[in-house]
Symmetry: C2
Subunit: 132 residues, 2 copies
C-alpha cells in the first residue's frame, strides 16, 4: 500500500511513485491532481446511451496530459445513506498539475467529446482534488 503523504511513508512525486514502488508489488496513485466527473443520463435506463457515453470517454485517453484514466459505473457495494449510486457513468482522471487539468479542459479531443456526447446527460458533477 502506498499513500501520497501517508503517515510514516515518504511523500512521493507522481512519476517517481510509479517507478520507485512498482515491482515491489505496491500499487501507487498515478498523480496528485484528481478530476472526478459523475454523469446522470437523460435516459437513465438506456444501456445504449450509457455505452455511447463510455465510448466517448474512451477517446479522451489520447490526451497526453492525462496520467491515468478510470471509467466506471456504480459498484455493487453495500447500500448506505451516504452512498450516492444514482449516477450512470463516471470518469476519474489524474493530472500532475492544475495547469495540466486546464490544458485537458481546452484540448480539441475533449471539446469534441463534449460536442458529441453532451446531449446524452442531464446532470454532471465534478470534483477536482489536490493531494495533500
Amino acid at each position: 500500500m502506498m499513500a501520497i503523504g501517508g503517515a510514516g511513508l515518504a511523500a512521493t512525486l507522481p512519476g517517481e511513485a510509479a517507478e520507485a514502488k512498482a515491482g515491489a508489488g505496491a500499487a501507487t496513485v498515478p498523480a496528485k491532481v484528481l478530476h472526478h466527473v459523475f454523469f446522470w443520463l437523460k435516459d437513465a435506463g438506456s444501456t445504449a446511451d450509457r455505452d455511447r457515453l463510455i465510448a466517448g470517454l474512451r477517446t479522451l485517453a489520447a490526451i497526453p496530459v492525462i496520467r491515468a484514466l478510470h471509467i466506471g459505473v456504480p459498484a455493487d457495494t453495500e447500500a448506505r445513506d451516504v452512498v450516492d449510486g444514482s449516477y450512470q457513468v463516471s470518469e476519474l482522471m489524474f493530472f500532475d498539475t492544475v495547469a495540466d487539468q486546464k490544458a485537458y479542459q481546452d484540448h480539441p479531443i475533449h471539446r469534441q467529446f463534449v460536442a458529441d456526447c453532451e446531449k446524452l446527460w442531464r446532470k454532471v458533477v465534478v470534483y477536482d482534488t489536490l493531494g495533500v
Copy 2:
C-alpha cells in the same frame, strides 16, 4: 497514459498494470474498485479540524486491502457551475474487489477512525465505482 479497458489499449489487472507499465513512464490506475468520499466539516473554516480529519484518514493506510490511497482538498481549478468545491477533505481508495471494500468498511482501524473523527463532519458523500 494507461486506461483500464481504454479503446485500443489492452485491459490490465491492477497488480499487473503497476508492474508492467512502471519504468516505461506510463502511470497506471492501481485497481478497479474506487471508493471516493467527500467530507464537509461542521466547522468548515477550521484548519485544525481539517488537519485532524486528514491525520485520521492517514491511519487508514495501514489497512491491507487498500491498494492505494489519495487524501485531498479542493484543487484550485477553474470555477465552473458543474464543479463542486464546497467540501473540505476527500479520500479516494482503490480496491481490487467489492469484497475488499467491504472488508475495509468493517476493519477495526476504519471503525476507530469513524469513532475518533465523526464528530468533525456534518455531511459525507460516497461514490463507489467499478471500472469498465
